[in-house]
Structure formats: structure tokens, C-alpha cells
Subunit: 359 residues, 2 copies
């Protein structure tokens, strides 16, 4: 039995504007100064999944960047989506390919743009999940132990001891909950049996394809020709049709919430989805005034700021606090740190006002 | 009797960083979108002093910019200081030149970088001052009716009715006061007989030269060779020595505070010294959220900001309030509006840290 990683790298991450652009999405950015998020995602699998068994699913416009950033990943492992259709078609594609290559494959599905601080603990968690995923019809996900009543994540309620006493084990999932309001999120936290939905899944390729067959038969059927043509010159010919025929739906809605046997392993390994600039600020080293500064930056009477300057410009802050300043060649964002979630609205505004050159 | 304007344009205005630079000082900037400050200073004299009788005193490095910005001012009226030595030598130079050209000249000395909203009232005020300056040994200044207990200006106390009842007249000056602390400024305002020192002076050329002779004899002596060589090929030869020998002192300290017959005309014509970005914000038109935006700027959930972008960059503010954002080709300032006075400290810092390329 071999384990494969399927890294989903088709998103744009518009809350990272102006650094993230349609041509340069978040997962290809060097957010923390060492490597890009996708490079780190592959690197932290070392010892568990070698690059030759990593598959990257991305939009075809990002194939070249993916090759350049991940030279150790074989070219045939870079799966190009002709159109973006949410996660269910993406997973059906990867599942079909893996079934064709290795009928005994187990898949670890990971977002390309998350950050994990405790890699050893992450591996231990995945080992438990991989083992649990060998049981018949079983889909496994990782649920993050919540640190606060976040409203930006979905939640997973499980059957088992409360989080403080939970073991590193695969517990039955009771319900998936949508992103809650604050009051609901607080209730979830208080109840002690809710975890954050991390978007990480572990299952056998044959299991997920069976479950797609049961719960999303159109997606399953759409990708059967891909499975048959996998790794042949015909694959590209049938791929576009498969994506067009497949319903545009997430794997969470399409399968996880409908499946009978879903298990969750509580994860506690310093996880962040690096969801916005505030998250980057929180993850970065800071000076004695709480400033995290990247580039040529001078601060005067200023504290708890995040500044990132791409180019040779001098950036000066005077009397500023709790502010995010990000500049690129053609755009500048100045944002209150508590408002960084709203940056995605700016990108929508740019699209709506014929300012696509800045998106 | 002819009236001349002597416009002092040798400063840098470092509180206007990053727009103002050593190579492009504040007076040469187009701050309000119509013309540069020095162009406005000359233009608002129309009807009182024609450009042919305007003299511009500036550092020699700014002579070319002055010519380009003020084509109606004759070249021989652009007086180049070889070194910057505060206002007393500057005025001695202009006084010596004017004495040589017109022994009956009256001088209006004006800073190049102020803003005046009510030009008609400004002219009326100057007419009163010009008339008062014809009396023997009399130096006249304009005192601005204060609107708040500012700590950034010197004050002038006069003998006469309290400001509310004062006529447009030249009142005897009792004292000049340095920039006060807040408590002192409040006391000044409450007393009703203090005005802001505007740095505008009106006197006959022979009067100021006599007063220099009495109170700053070294400055007077230094510029006698300039007077003798005025408008001849020898002028440049003696000029450097004159500036070197003249004491480095302001006309306020050197003459005004020591002279016996000083009068002040209260001015109420919508004056601003445009001293920092906050002052620019206050003078600019604003949208319904109190934002004054120059360039390609998008604001979201933001109010009372001043944004100025020189180039094609898109600037986006999210959740920001009471903030100044000024960007140029090579530098960006983000400054709390209440901290704009501190911008000059940044320029000092740049000088002290071998970052002169940004000054």
C-alpha cells in the first residue's frame, strides 16, 4: 500500500491582494521569507510522502509556475484543470488518475497554502488518519483543535471525549457545520466536541471513487473516461469534457456531509490557513514594538504593524499602529489589521469596475 | 515710490517628505492641483506687484527650477544664495540689490510656500502695511489672527484694541514671543492681543538697510560690496564672501526684536503656512467621508484620510481613518494625521543613516 499526496493548488487567495494576483496566487508566494507556501507544503511531507508521489492539481495557467517551484515533483504528477470547478471535480480527477496508476493507493488531500509549525506532530496525525482510512467505505478528515471562536471556518462535531481529553485517534463525525456567526461559534467551542474543518482529507482512492459514485454520480461518471485514458495521449482530450460535465461543488457538500462513514482525527500541530494578512502578521517574528517588517522600512512611534515592500522603495511609518501595509510594483494596500478579511471585497470591487489589470 | 516683492524661496520643507526633496522643495510642488506654491505666491500679487518687480531669493541649486516655474519674472530678479544662511543675509542681499536699483523702493517680503484664500483682503492688508512703512525707521509685519492655540508659530503682541475690535491698521508691536507651549499659547489667545508671526514683512529698502546697520552691522557691512556691484559682472564675485561673512541669523531675532519702531497689521485673509500634510488635508476638498484623495485611490470603510499618489499605482485603503498616505516613485509615507509634524524627524533620520538618496 502506497500513500500519495494530492495537493490542491488551484485557488487565488484574493485576501492576499495586492501580493496575490490571478497570475501569481497565494500558494506561489514566498510569504514567510524561506520558501513559497506550496514548496513548504511539499517539503513538510518529507519522510511520509516523497515528491515522486505528490500530485499537484492546479489550473492549467499555473502549470508552468508549479513546475518551476517544484522541480522534484515529476511533470506527470502536475494535473492541470482546464476550468476551475471547486474541489469535487478536482478530487475526482486525482482519484481517477491514482486508481489508474495504483489500485491500492491511499490519498492525502492537502490545500497548497496552509502553514504547519509542528511537522512531527502533523506526521503522527496523518499516520493515524492513513490507518483509519484503510477500513471499508471510510473517509477521514483532520479537524483542527480550535483556539478561539473563529467565524471564518466550518466546524466538525465528533463523537468522543471532549477535546481536552481526546486522544490522537479517528473519531466518528456527527455533523459538519457551516461557517457560524460569533454566538454559534462560541457555543461550538463551549461544547468541547467541535473542531475546525481544515480541508485535509485522507482516504483510499477506491473508497473516494465509490463514494463519488454513490453521492455525486455525475462527477464519478464524468471522470471515468479520464481514468481509462490516464497517462495516455488521449487524457487531455477527455479532460475538458469531464470538467464541463462534472457538477460545480465542493467535496464537503458533495460527499463528506452525505457519506455514512466519516471519521475525524483531531489535529494540534500549529496549523494556520494563512487566511489573510492578519494571519501572516501573527505568524511572523516581531520587533520589540510588535512590528513585523519586510523590505526597506523605517518606523517611528509605530507599533504592531505588518509592512511588506516588494521593491526598492523606502516605506516610512509615523505614528501608526495595528496596520498592514503591503506594496507591489503597481499597487499599495493600507489596511487596519482587524479589517484584513475585507481585502477580498476590494478584489471584487476591482473586477466589478474594470480594474482587472490590478487583480 | 515703487513696491517690490521679495519672495524667499530657499527652504526645503522637510515636513513635506516624501513629496519634498532637496532637489524638489515644497515651494516648487503642485500641492493643490492648480499651480505650485511659488507660482501661486507670485500670481496672487497680480494688481499689486507685477512679476517684473518680484525678486526671488533662493539657493543657487533652485535657480533653474525658479526660472522654469516663473517665466514672467525677469532672470535678473532671481537672486541666488551661494549658501543658506537663514533670513537676515537673504534680506540684506535683496535690500542691497533694491537700494542699488531704486533708492525709493518699498519691499514686501513674503515666504514662497504659504497659501492665502482671500486675495482681495490680503491686498487691502498689504496696502495698509505699505503706507505704514513709509514712516521713518518703521518696520512693518503682518500678524495673522489666530484661530487656535497653535504651538508651531511665533506670536506677536501688539498695543491696541483686542483682536475682535481691531481695525485694518498698523499697531505698535509690544513683544515678539517664541513658539510657545500649549498652556502659554492658550494664555496668548485668551489675552486677545497676540497674533501669529507670519514671516511677512513690509519696509522700505533704505529703512531695513539702516536697521541692519544698527542691529546687525556685520550683515550690513558684508553686503555693501554687493550693493556697489549690484547688477554688474562683479556681483557674483563678491556675493560668496558676503554670505560667508554675514551672521547666520533670522531677521526676526536679528532685527525685528531689537528695533524701536515695529508695527503689525492684523491679517485675516484665510492664511495657511501649509506647514505639513495635516494642513494640506485641511485645505483640500473632501468627499462625504472626509477623505481627500489624489491619484488612483480606492477607499473602503475609511474616513478622514489624505492620500496622494504621484504615479499610476493603485492605492487601496481598508478600515483606515485619520491617516496620511503619500507616495512617490521611490518612497512611501504612512502617517497618522496628528503626527505629521514628526515627518521632519524622519528626514533627519535619513540624513543620519546615510539614506540621503531619499532626502
Amino acid at each position: 500500500m502506497a500513500t500519495y499526496a494530492v495537493i490542491m493548488a488551484g485557488g487565488i487567495g484574493s485576501r492576499f491582494w495586492p501580493a496575490s494576483r490571478k497570475a501569481r496566487p497565494k500558494q506561489f508566494l514566498n510569504v514567510f521569507g524561506d520558501a513559497t507556501l506550496i514548496q513548504n507544503t511539499v517539503a513538510r511531507l518529507q519522510g511520509l510522502v516523497p515528491p515522486e508521489r505528490c500530485l499537484i492539481v492546479t489550473h492549467e495557467r499555473y502549470v508552468q509556475q508549479t513546475k518551476e517551484q517544484l522541480p522534484a515533483v515529476p511533470e506527470e504528477n502536475i494535473l492541470a484543470e482546464p476550468i476551475s470547478r471547486n474541489t469535487a471535480p478536482c478530487i475526482a480527477y486525482a482519484g481517477a488518475k491514482l486508481q489508474a496508476r495504483d489500485k491500492d493507493a491511499t490519498m492525502i488531500v492537502l490545500p497548497a497554502d496552509h502553514m504547519i509549525q509542528n511537522v512531527q506532530r502533523f506526521h503522527e496525525t496523518l499516520h493515524v488518519a492513513i490507518e483509519a482510512a484503510q477500513a471499508p467505505e471510510t473517509l477521514v478528515t483532520i479537524g483542527i483543535q480550535p483556539t478561539h471562536p473563529a467565524t471564518g471556518y466550518g466546524y466538525i462535531q465528533y463523537d468522543g471525549p471532549s477535546i481536552d481529553e481526546a486522544a490522537l485517534d479517528a473519531y466518528p463525525v456527527r455533523t459538519f457545520a457551516e461557517k457560524p456567526d460569533v454566538a454559534t461559534a462560541e457555543r461550538f467551542i463551549d461544547s468541547g466536541d467541535f473542531l475546525w474543518n481544515s480541508g485535509m482529507f485522507i482516504w483510499r482512492a477506491d473508497t473516494i471513487m465509490e463514494q463519488l459514485h454513490t453521492h455525486l454520480p455525475k462527477a464519478y461518471e464524468a471522470f471515468q473516461p479520464v481514468r481509462e485514458a490516464a497517462d495516455t495521449p488521449e487524457e487531455q482530450e477527455v479532460l475538458h469534457t469531464a470538467f464541463q460535465e462534472s457538477p460545480r461543488i465542493s467535496i464537503d457538500y458533495g460527499v463528506m456531509e452525505r457519506a455514512d462513514t466519516v471519521r475525524v482525527v483531531p489535529g494540534d500541530f500549529g496549523w494556520s490557513d494563512v487566511g489573510d494578512w492578519r494571519a501572516v502578521y501573527e505568524l511572523r517574528d516581531k520587533d520589540e514594538h510588535g512590528n513585523a517588517l519586510e523590505g526597506q522600512v523605517i518606523v517611528h512611534d509605530s507599533s504592531r504593524n505588518y509592512v511588506q515592500s516588494d521593491d526598492d522603495r523606502l516605506v516610512v511609518l509615523v505614528g501608526m499602529h495595528d496596520t498592514v501595509v503591503v506594496e507591489t510594483d503597481d499597487a499599495l494596500l493600507v489596511c487596519k489589521r482587524e479589517s484584513t478579511q475585507q481585502v477580498k471585497n476590494v478584489v471584487e470591487y476591482l473586477h466589478a469596475h474594470q480594474l482587472d489589470e490590478y487583480t
